[in-house]
Symmetry: D2
């Protein structure tokens, strides 16, 4: 049993960490922070937690925080995270950072897309927290950079293909669609019910979304060459879920059976990857609330393209659930502990 | 560990039983039936179950069914249930019937609202499966009539008031709103996405919904007098959730503190009832996917009325979850086993 | 052809006025104001207006405003309206105020529910803009107080019954459900997509919603006696639509045919009231985008109650459409001009 | 003033034709057919039409039909259409067919994707009813093959680029997302509210959707070379709207200004095309209920790709509205008559 803290508990990711950690048999939430809601019970802000979590939001400086738990989830915006994480690490704590601050290994690239980095020395130390790819390193690190939601959905879909050289990296196009939790819980006109409901739209089209360098970094590592992709995010009128439809041209010699084999080799032992049968495609409603990533693909011989489709719950496998999966690995718990949730359908 | 069977696994209630039972540590699903999907894996029909439940739908006559499990959930339409249940009971099996067939104690009333009853002798034997009211009887029965979804939401809201004589029974008006799972999974134009989405409507207004006699039966027992109510169901553009807004005139001497006390006395030890604080009201999104019933009330002194509001997930506390709660009591398991689910929000 | 101005064009009501007035053959929008979006094209804020309305938001003091149009719609929050309206009237302009500032005839009641009134002298002058009741007065006034959305749905449903003495005023209970446009376009956490979507909840229960005195004022006038009602608003997960389910006890002698006759006498010549046949009930999706108010009722003889159900689009008949209907009357246009919109379904 | 008939009035497209034609000043609906709802008022099936359309569904053979109107909209499934259309044409009537039966010019291709064609001689005679491309031919034909919804959204987006040789035809990938009206009004489990709501999924991935040959035929004509594309449809949890995100590699010499110019040249005089400014992207909610096609694009210099995004209301510009636009041209009415609808937002 370890004590865990949630830094930034009043966002959707923080609330989801609370929901999932409440039912985790190996941990106790000992501190939850929120500047905005200081002093208020977290279950008052997120009434789904009523009667199950009895903790009040606190507003503490890092030096007081560090004594309150063994492991911390930092679910705060980027830039805020880089100011908190180093002190927690210095105090010997484990940290899983859900912001973007430690995901990009190249400080220059980080600073081009975000802002100056004040803890650049940690960029090489942090492990990119995609357990299906980096499980071994995650087990021994103190700092996990929890992946972005879009990157999780795209990287998991392409990893077996890129490692095997099955596709032409320059042809990758990722058309992704996300639910509104991805925009967070801040009060903005663009996130109002009436603006999002019964509608659908692309946004940040053409290399302008900040997940682009993160996706390219990881795909490049898998392919062992520099990859530039097209990535178009869209906003779905639903709360949870990302579906990515990814297109790429196949290299010669890779047909249905061989591709199936690649996915099986990579993922059969992975508890949260569900490979779909031929002509079965993923859907966000079948992963809702769970840590699963469903993957299906279709080969279009007329155009020699493969279409890979993945579905995740962006709040779970794309954020809080994956963070807990990382915690399980870092702490020597069973990887699936607290995450054995069956998707809620309908 | 007991073996359980789901009769009628391809409806939303059947699928929800499967979802919940998969994570129940004391049971194993040994048989699931469906005429329509005979031979097909249940996880193919409900892909949320993929990788977690490996069972195929069967189409078996009662005599073959009875050997396959120790306890059965009959999640079939009324009339179908009354033909299956007696044989299962005769074979010494426990049965939790989720249809309406054993909910009405008076055979004449049943036949007025439904059709002739072929197993009328069981009507007195069956226990109405509302654990918060009939927990003791449920523990010793072999046949539970699992309550309807609307009745659950209304009866739980009014029970403390009626038992204490706090309200005038003739003034009760229940205005209830339900998600679309309540209409089931049969292919009907009225249940199509485009007919329900972005809309809201009443239906079966004015004593025409079949839950009316069930509600009146139970409220009358609580009040120890014959009660006739107004009950208006409405269809919400969401899948899960019932919110009932119930109005009644207060009897003299019942004010805020005393009413609060009545609810606390009745429900404090009940694990699935959450009593809300004054000026906090329930919402379907805060119980989604869980077995909770959230209850709030407001006294309007200008009209001398109390407004009681309750929220449940109709598929869980209004059907499958309550059925498992009943199973837990019937089998001597802890009442909350397998049901410790925190609502999924957002 | 007259020139009209929209004061407060950047809210949902302002945008809807723009949408409807664009297709009105007798008017030209000559000015639209917004402090927040000063200088920006209105069609940039509401892209549905692209290519159809070419006007920029301005931020003008009343003295400059008054020269810019013949008739003004004030779609600003209450309190703001009372500071603008008197000057416009003094300049000889016609005004349709969509705020609450001129709806309550008794200044004391207004000030109890809102705040001190700085133009109390206009309260008696303003005509309550429900054309089906006050059409004659509207034709000759310069100041219309456009009704609230909930009041419109409730008053239209009850008017024929109260005028005929068909129901007992003290038994009226109005259970109303509204779409999220009712909360306006201001950035608030409670109005975010993820908070409203896939959920349903009551709010301001028990005489705390500010539409209560407005409803009671009008119902009392109709009944010619002081009426106190129960009114419970709820928030629906859709943008447009109010459905009110209203309960009342019938007085002796009023049965189906006679009630039908009352509605027909009152409304047959009203172009925007659609009376439904017996056992047909209104639904928000069948009035979406239109100025219709659909009315149905059901008599429950067992409880001697009538259940009246009305559906409107709260942004149209509950706000902008009704305002234009009022303008048509004030300006001598045909009452239906610009409002002959058929509801958008599905 | 002409008389028009709607063959197949009880589907969503039929109902939308009724909605739009009711407000068209040059036509009168004189007959509406439906086998399923024979004898019932159309406004009973689609209550949005109440008080505006007073017509009953009939079930008539073609020989009786032909006398009842001057122009017919055939909104029936493919295969049914080819049996009705020839007789109507022989009787000298104008026909706008909304099925797929006359869209494919090559009978072999039609028969490969659909079934044997019994009126193959009409394939060359029919004009593909995309007014922005074929306006002149539409004016003089008696038979218009009204385009599919997906094809409309994709072809309008690519036409200026293909005509100018701006993109490499073999690189075209169309990722399209449609609302649920696209699946029609037949009672199928997959179209139920609970299956579609709060979810998102691809379907018919990889050259299996029947709109593929239609899209390729038209793109090939525009490019004057054989084009094979990737086209992936997805199902959105909303009723109306298609958004297509289309990717293609640019040929040398085509940059922002030149591309803008191409779109302007092609579409400036087209009343239903709205070209968006740079960095403004289309959204389904801004075209809802209207006949507009909004088009935006973004050039990604890093990958040398252009991303073209288009949004239409699939029931209007993708079906009934476009059909009426075609009727206007065929009958010499102003192209926009009856279609000057501003999108309904929110």
């Amino acid at each position: 049993m370890i004590n865990v803290g949630i830094i930034g508990a009043s966002g959707y990711t923080g609330a989801e960490l609370a929901r999932l950690l409440c039912n985790h048999p190996e941990v106790k939430i000992t501190v939850a922070t929120s500047r905005q809601y200081e002093g208020r019970p977290l279950a008052e802000i997120f009434p789904n937690l009523r009667s199950r979590l009895n903790i009040r939001c606190e507003n503490l400086p890092p030096e007081q925080l560090q004594e309150r738990a063994d492991l911390f989830f930092t679910a705060v915006p980027h830039k805020t995270a880089m100011n908190i994480v180093p002190e927690l690490l210095s105090a010997g704590k484990k940290v899983i950072d859900l912001s973007a601050d430690f995901r990009i290994r190249d400080q220059q690239i980080y600073e081009k897309w975000y802002q100056p980095h004040t803890s650049g020395h940690l960029l090489q130390e942090a492990v990119y927290g995609l357990p299906e790819l980096y499980g071994k390193s995650i087990k021994t690190t103190s700092l996990v950079a929890n992946p972005g939601c879009y990157p999780t959905s795209i990287i998991l879909g392409l990893a077996p293909l890129l490692e095997a050289g099955a596709i032409q990296p320059r042809t990758i196009i990722a058309d992704s669609k996300s639910g509104a939790t991805g925009a967070g819980r801040s009060a903005q006109v663009g996130s109002l019910f009436c603006e999002v409901h019964d509608g659908f739209k692309p946004y940040k089209v053409g290399r302008s979304h900040r997940h682009t360098p993160e996706i390219e970094q990881e795909l490049s590592l898998l392919a062992e060459e520099e990859i530039t992709i097209s990535f178009t995010p869209h906003l779905l009128p639903l709360s949870r879920g990302i579906l990515s439809t990814v297109y790429a041209s196949l290299n010669p010699g890779f047909e249905q059976t061989r591709i199936e084999e690649l996915y099986k080799q990579k993922y059969t032992s992975q508890p949260f990857i569900r490979l779909l049968q031929e002509d079965s495609f993923p859907a966000t409603q079948y992963v809702r609330g769970s840590n699963f990533c469903d993957i299906g693909f279709k080969i279009d011989t007329a155009t020699n393209r493969i279409i890979v489709m993945t579905a995740i719950d962006n709040v779970v496998k794309g954020a809080a659930g994956q963070a807990i999966q990382n915690m399980n690995l870092m702490c020597g718990f069973k990887e699936t502990t607290g995450l054995e949730i069956i998707p809620l359908f309908p």
